[in-house]
């Protein structure tokens, strides 16, 4: 099984971190993984995206051109990557900021009001973690436990952050798994 995921949004929404956490979690599960960011002169204030591959096989090309899952944190990202998604793939839309749904009927659309949920939790910064919860619940590419382990490792110097982020991930997962 190979998960090829594109995560996209504008700078500051935390798409790079989402991708790194998933990649790290995949590594902890001894899977073959790669993470590569888009980088360019448009970074500041513009759109940013990263490709994440989590696979049972060694990873070939690290740049994903036909994703099995697309995560769109803002409208330009949805416009850009919606068409590239493979049929039957997951399209995860941040419905707090994107007013339209998908034009496609052959994909699994998940609407995640991530900013609203983050605000309910009392921390606007964890919107990306809500979406990450939805991604792992929808794809099952890695377990929630591994993501939390990865988080604890990446933020080893700030252990106080784990609780709120864990809550956010669980809320995002509940959108798929039911409450």
């Amino acid at each position: 099984m190979t998960h090829e995921i594109v995560m996209a949004g504008f700078g500051g929404q935390g798409v790079m971190l989402m991708g790194q956490l998933m990649t790290y979690a995949g590594m902890l599960e001894n899977k073959h993984v790669s993470w590569i960011p888009s980088y360019g002169p448009e970074m500041r204030g513009g759109t940013a995206n990263c490709s994440v591959i989590i696979s049972d096989e060694p990873v070939g090309a690290p740049i994903v051109s036909e994703p099995t899952t697309v995560v769109a944190m803002n409208l330009p990202s949805l416009d850009k990557f919606e068409a590239a998604l493979q049929a039957g793939g997951n399209l995860i839309i941040n419905s707090s900021l994107i007013e339209r749904s998908s034009k496609r009927s052959d994909v699994n659309v998940l609407l995640v009001p991530s900013n609203d949920i983050a605000n309910e939790l009392g921390n606007a910064k964890v919107a990306n973690m809500v979406v990450l919860g939805t991604i792992i619940a929808a794809t099952k590419a890695v377990s929630q436990e591994s993501v939390l382990k990865a988080f604890a490792k990446m933020f080893a110097k700030k252990p106080e952050l784990l609780a709120i982020n864990e809550q956010a991930i669980k809320r995002g997962a509940a959108l798929v798994n039911g409450k």
């Binding site: 790194q20 990649t23 790290y24 590594m27 993984v33 790669s34 993470w35 590569i36 960011p37 980088y39 360019g40 002169p41 990873v59 070939g60 090309a61 690290p62 740049i63 051109s65 036909e66």
Partner: protein, 355 residues
Amino acid sequence: MAEKILMKGNEAIGEAAVVAGCRHYFGYPITPQSELIEYMAKRMPQVNGVFLQAESEVAAINMVYGAAGAGARVMTSSSSPGISLKQEGISYIAGAELPCVIVNMARGGPGLGSIQPGQCDYFQATKGGGHGDYNNIVLVPNSVQELVDCTVLAFELADKYRNPVMILGDGALGQMMEPVAFPDKAAEAPAKPWATTGLKGRKEPNVINSLHIQAPDLEKHNYHLQMKYKTIKQNERRWEEYRTEDAELVLVAYGITARVVQSAVDMARAVGLKVGLFRPITAWPFPYEELGRLAKTAKGFMAVELSAGQMVEDVRLSVVGSKPVYFYGRTGGMICTPKEVFGIVKKIMLGEEEK
């Protein structure tokens, strides 16, 4: 080998250099390799090393020249336009026969070009780059782990042959993260009795120099260099083959492009097309004989590069006219997709593509 960690290519090179005993780094920032100089700025003081951001690339390479002359394991890094600026110094270092490691995380060119990945510095890296008859050993890794392995190897080869070694990567390899494990340490640097570290009781001082003002002397020196290059060509060719045993079409690619091509090979194999990948790991010395051997079984070859066609010339030299050699490339910082390469493969195997 320690536990695996997730690391960016650029940072992994820096840590590998530390593991290899590099304690002197001189550089100047440029995208897409700036994470490497940042890493060295943080890491070198922790291991009692020297980190110095020079006033320019020209200054940095001449600091490398000085440190190498004093016997240090020393490294510099840059990306394409910055590597062009270093060429004079590299030629001097090659002429003076000093060991050093130069990293080029290449981007699109010519000129300032773009900041996206490129492989258009292949000629510069493998055919000289600066003036004079010299060669750098050129390593072309294709993953973050291989960046680490090649960095450690680069220091060992540099010392072994007293020769500059270049790691030719690209922006994508520098920016991507993959799990990586570091060796505990590299082979110890050999004794360097030629280094300029003081007379220490000797009568004759060591001299580091690339000037041989008498023509017969310089010719003799050049003969010596060529003998050394011949030994390197015999001993240090490295490559990897993927599904080439029965391949009718052999794709040749290195670095990040080899990853794309490997995926394209799998797509072709899935529909029954006999396609394989030959991946040079040393671009100089190029594995001519090993690739040429495949001409006995393959019907054709295709070089795939992020350039307008540079390594393809070495592919032609390997095959020496015995089989058709095709080329497919993207430039400017654009990267081909596996599907795109698979499309070209189908055309060639159905006999529709021009040579």
